[in-house]
Symmetry: C2
Subunit: 144 residues, 2 copies
Amino acid sequence: MLKEDRLEGFIERCRQAGLKITPQRVAVYEILLNSPHHPTVEEIYEEVKKRYPFVSLATVYRTVETLEQMGLAKKVCYWGSSARYDANTEEHHHLICVRCGAIKDIYIEDSLSIPKELEGFRTEGYSVNIYGLCPSCKSAQPDT
Amino acid sequence: MLKEDRLEGFIERCRQAGLKITPQRVAVYEILLNSPHHPTVEEIYEEVKKRYPFVSLATVYRTVETLEQMGLAKKVCYWGSSARYDANTEEHHHLICVRCGAIKDIYIEDSLSIPKELEGFRTEGYSVNIYGLCPSCKSAQPDT
DNA sequence: ATACCTGCAAAGGCTTTGCGGTTCG
DNA sequence: CGAACCGCAAAGCCTTTGCAGGTAT
């Protein structure tokens, strides 16, 4: 789906839900849509600040939480440090740098067929995280 | 590998590394070995306190970090809340309850063959997280 | 004896929350 | 106009750290 359409869809869903369409809110989602590197809240905040210098970090936190509840973004957790967000709703996996925490979307074939019921759990989905060193960390740390 | 052997191995490796074998340290590892539910640091702390009432939370944090560095435990991250630890070193995946955060080890066949080099990353390993509702949360929340 | 380790308490990040003023619809 | 939202600052977790006393080797 195109980004413009996704932004439109977001605005439409806000209307339906009685949520106000504020410039900050739109900016956060738009920035997230255009960030392939799964930014942290802080990073989103820095971007939003370029457009709205008086925005507060709390607003960004509140907005990403709203997006998550609407199913338009996912919190991507990783060892330590802070949470990152991902607005890519297609099926995909993550390539994660164990040194700097960078996250990259990856589309590989996987033939995992997860049963609806597993060990008493009702399953809803799954994710694959692949760990490694990203190109820049790889060259910074030749061998270990 | 048997738990007793793993505990022995841990003690042996501590000796080699010049690390002292303190009762607290051993207790943390032993408790982790016997906790199939991937306890949080707080939960490990509560268990250790049953044996050593004066243990401090900081010690548990320091010990799990040591275990992680030795490769004997892994930090298992999950959305929100606090980190959990896993001393199971066999290849396995995780079944995670999205409601209460409980984590269960799972052994399913997966035929993911991850190249050593992927999108410029040097890969080291991967993990599969399957999300869902655990038995007790499932009954507490019949349908949603 | 002497590293290393522990407990305590304080400090440090990240995230959430309360509140008064503001803005969208 | 009124509900929803924002910015600010304070408070809340979880986790780490500094320090002085204690313990394993």
